[in-house]
Amino acid sequence: MRILFLLLLAFPAMAQTPEVERVVAATFADAPEAWKSRVTQDETQALCSLRRNEPTKAEAMAIEAREKATVKIPAEIAGSWKKGEDIAQNGRGNQFSDPAGTVAGGNCYACHQMAPAELSYGTLGPSLMHYGKLKDFAPAAAREAYGKVYNAQSVTACSTMPRFGHNGVLSEQQIKDVVAYLFDPASPVNAPVK
């Protein structure tokens, strides 16, 4: 009883969750078997939803630790910036309107400015223009970027950026390619502004 009470104090909005989950389940009741897991939340999604992406310090640390445990950063990150560019531009994949077997892109341009020549970019995330250059093309920074793209919340709890590797949206090689797009000195991301 006491524990339950304390829990309710710690998660004041929790009390309303079962009703919300009932309605959500009914809203997606027609989902095919393979899609059902998308309707339910993992622990991180549930807590970030409840906190509207502003977890307490302790919660943030717990999330980052849990998410970090899912990330394996390769010792060497070799990729093709050209392929990375296609992935950054590609917003297809995983939508119910996509033909089966569609390979998903990262759609980084939906949220980030990247190459100075590309004007069609969104503003939900910070600008990544000249990202590699600003980090002196340091291999350690490239490895960090790999970890960020693999699982954004291993670095920032409740980041609104998708956990591309963790959720299986992008493969290891695809992530290496987008990192090359950010870090290759020859990549348009690092080209001077005209």
Partner: protein
């Protein structure tokens, strides 16, 4: 075609990208057309909806004129401006589309299966639901959107809708709030209205649906917009006319409350 291309340009390009004065003028001209019933193809849906409303159908050979949309049987003026709302006869909060399906069954004795199959129009295949919504919503033009929030079930629907707005899920970890949680954001070049609090952008949205979508050459309703956003969220197809979509609409009608209704509008 030219109409569509210019309009797409007008509605896509943001202020960040300066226009030369020629296209500025074109854009102005097409903006004016938006308010011209003769030029907005959405008004074809309004006309079709008027016919469907009066047509005797179903096992009871009745028209929808016996349907109470919340302001009395058959009364159209102002009905849409006060939806979604609680209906005692169904003991449920309903948006316009849910209510119409309810009336088709109870007033007309109509089999709604084919109606649901055709819920979204496609080239050469009209949708009764889109047409009816266009006709009925148009009868609230000039009025303010004031969905009631008094009945306990209306309040409960609002709470669920608000929670769904912030609820993250699926492979991209998206919630509605990911894209509609802040002012002045855009995805690629498309401006994103902020629905996290009452504001004029949310009002502009809620006063402008149903809309004729140029990119789809079709009149679309809020049910379709939410279907489209759940698609972008990588979620499964939401059930049309479900409690959840109504809950979200109840929430949106509050953050966009007091919007002046002017529909069907015309959008990208």
């Amino acid at each position: 075609m030219r109409f569509a291309a210019i309009l797409l340009l007008a509605l896509t390009v943001t202020a960040a990208h300066a226009q030369d004065s020629d296209s500025e003028k074109e854009i102005e001209r097409y903006r004016a057309m938006i308010n011209d019933p003769m030029a907005n193809p959405g008004y074809l849906a309004v006309d079709r909806g008027e016919q469907i409303w009066a047509e005797k159908r179903g096992s009871k050979a009745a028209s929808l004129e016996g349907c109470d949309l919340g302001v009395g049987p058959g009364v159209l003026e102002g009905a849409f401006a006060h939806l979604p709302r609680y209906f005692a006869d169904a003991d449920q909060v309903m948006d316009l589309e849910q209510r119409l399906l309810f009336c088709m069954k109870t007033v007309q004795g109509l089999d709604t299966k084919p109606i649901l199959t055709n819920r979204f129009s496609a080239p050469g295949k009209a949708s009764d639901m889109e047409d009816l919504v266009a006709f009925i919503a148009n009868k609230s033009n000039g009025m303010k959107l004031q969905a009631p929030l008094e009945h306990p079930k209306e309040k409960a629907a609002y709470a669920v809708g608000e929670a769904m707005f912030y609820r993250r899920s699926a492979v991209n970890d998206f919630a509605c709030a990911t894209c509609h949680g802040d002012d002045g954001k855009r995805i690629r070049l498309q401006g994103l209205p902020n629905f996290s609090k009452p504001n004029s952008g949310a009002q502009e949205t809620m006063g402008s649906w149903p809309t004729y979508r140029v990119s789809q050459s079709a009149l679309r309703t809020m049910q379709h917009r939410l279907w489209d956003c759940y698609r972008q969220m990588r979620m499964p197809v939401p059930v049309y006319g479900s409690e959840g979509l109504t809950a979200l609409t109840v929430y949106l009608a509050q953050v966009g409350g007091n919007a002046v209704i002017n529909v069907p509008s015309i959008k990208r």
